[in-house]
């Protein structure tokens, strides 16, 4: 691209000295503005499946340490700037992950990748802390970060909530969300439960949008872009009538998977009777994907990491 800029510069140099042509060229520039040169960032969302144990129980420290190393290795290879995680146990697990990434880079004699834990939620399941928290890790320090549980609406009680971090990258203030919406687990009355699961996801999406709308009040300097990433547990292939994704799109967010064929957006490979499916997304506002998201195949988790390279707003 620099070559192109140089080339364009040489065109300008040829035409510029003539006073008569200068206004014409300026006019042309106004009529056909060049896209502004923007920095890029890499963002990854990954549901790490009961991290670090891999199961719903605690396991021996050495077993958990090995899984942390496995995840760290994949993350170091992906090399994102911002990491949106789901199903992590707690802050300590996130901290150990950052240390493992650092250690992996040191061992591989590659430049260090120093992440900071911007936020790790502490959502409760009943009266106890859940083990499926959401977190945001970033190379850039957070300007602000917090997490909040979804609010209940009547009988619809969405689980968990969102983690949010405001990061200043390339001189821009960008808002990042890590979310893990209601699963498709059904017990008892199947049809009713399925409908309730959908409602919980839709309600979560509505609350998320309400939060993005309310944020400018807290940040008068403005937020130039948003990324909502996570395990949304839905897609248009299986959940035709569900509005969760539409709610985000109607609020001005674009799905980074838009236009990507099904075979290229399988983020949760078939397992135990469940088919291949798309559950993990990066929704963008004010940021532009430079290419379709890349999905790395790995056995570290039942979900695959989804990474997208984004152009910052001009």
């Amino acid at each position: 691209v620099q070559d192109v800029r140089r080339l364009k510069g040489s065109i300008g140099e040829a035409a510029a000295p003539r006073m008569v042509l200068l206004p014409l060229l300026l006019l042309l520039g106004l009529l056909f503005p060049e896209p502004a040169w923007a920095e890029t960032i890499r963002v990854t969302t990954w549901n790490l499946e009961w991290f670090p144990s891999g199961v719903a129980n605690r396991r021996l420290p050495k077993v958990e340490a090995r899984r942390i190393e496995e995840a760290a290795r994949v993350i170091a290879i992906l090399n994102p700037d911002v990491l949106l995680l789901q199903e992590v146990r707690d802050w300590d697990a996130c901290q150990k992950l950052t240390e493992a990434i650092d250690a992996f880079c040191a061992g591989a004699a590659s430049p260090p990748l120093r992440f900071e834990v911007a936020v790790c939620s502490a959502f409760k399941e009943g009266n106890v802390l859940g083990w499926q928290q959401t977190a945001i890790l970033s190379k850039a320090p957070a300007q602000a970060a917090w997490s909040s549980e979804w609010t209940t609406s009547g009988a619809v009680d969405p689980p968990r909530g969102y983690s949010f971090a405001l990061l200043r990258i390339g001189g821009k203030d960008l808002g990042f969300y890590s979310v893990h919406l209601k699963s498709n687990l059904v017990r008892g009355n199947g049809a009713r439960e399925r409908q309730l699961n959908i409602l919980k996801r839709e309600l979560s999406a509505e609350q998320l949008i309400a939060h993005t709308d309310a944020l400018p009040k807290d940040f008068p300097d403005g937020i130039q872009g948003f990324v909502i990433g996570g395990d949304l547990n839905t897609n248009r292939d299986e959940f035709v009538s569900e509005r969760t994704l539409s709610i985000l799109e109607e609020a001005g967010f674009t799905d980074s998977f838009a236009g990507v064929p099904f075979a290229s957006r399988i983020t949760h490979p078939a397992k135990g009777g469940y088919p291949d499916t798309t559950f993990d997304y990066l929704f963008l506002k004010g940021l532009r994907p430079l290419a379709p998201p890349e999905i790395l195949s790995t056995k570290v988790s039942d979900h695959l990491p989804v990474t997208c390279e984004l152009a910052l707003p001009p």
Binding site: E49, L60, E294, K299
Partner: protein
């Protein structure tokens, strides 16, 4: 009127001729712009190619890493639910993995409690395996 129009068009032609003579390169701008567009398209194509190569290399790195030294990660039930952290799944994991830290060891009494016990994670202590401490008389440990 026809005279005026003719005079004006002559003037325009003369100005254009002077400008072309002064800087012919300026009038070859459209050709140069087309060339730059071609260049841009070429760079974009190269960029896309590099990006896909990068992805393939990353995939290769992950596969090499997982096949060389690291064992397959622990599998879990296909249920994709946080609420699935029930006693049922805890006990099934405990039965398959004796080293799993699914019990609670009270620090003061050294008693081991299972997930169904009222003292499980309700007393000062730590997670433990099925063989540590002495079993609680209420829950059986």
């Amino acid at each position: 009127m026809a005279m005026k129009a003719g005079w004006f068009s002559h003037l325009l032609s003369a100005v254009a001729a002077v400008l072309v003579a002064a800087e012919p390169a300026a009038f070859s701008q459209s050709t140069a712009t087309a060339a730059s567009t071609d260049e841009l398209a070429q760079l974009r194509a190269e960029n896309a190619k590099l990006r896909s190569e990068n992805q393939r290399l990353r995939q290769l790195l992950v596969q090499t890493a997982s096949s060389s030294s690291l064992p397959a990660p622990a599998s879990s039930s296909p249920a994709r639910e946080s609420a699935a952290s029930s006693a049922a799944s805890q006990s099934s994991a405990a039965s398959t993995d004796p080293q799993a830290l699914t019990y609670w060891l009270s620090a003061t009494s050294n008693k081991r409690h299972n997930a169904s016990c009222r003292w499980f994670k309700a007393s000062k202590g730590r997670a433990c395996t099925a063989t540590e401490g002495t079993p609680c008389k209420t829950c059986g440990g």
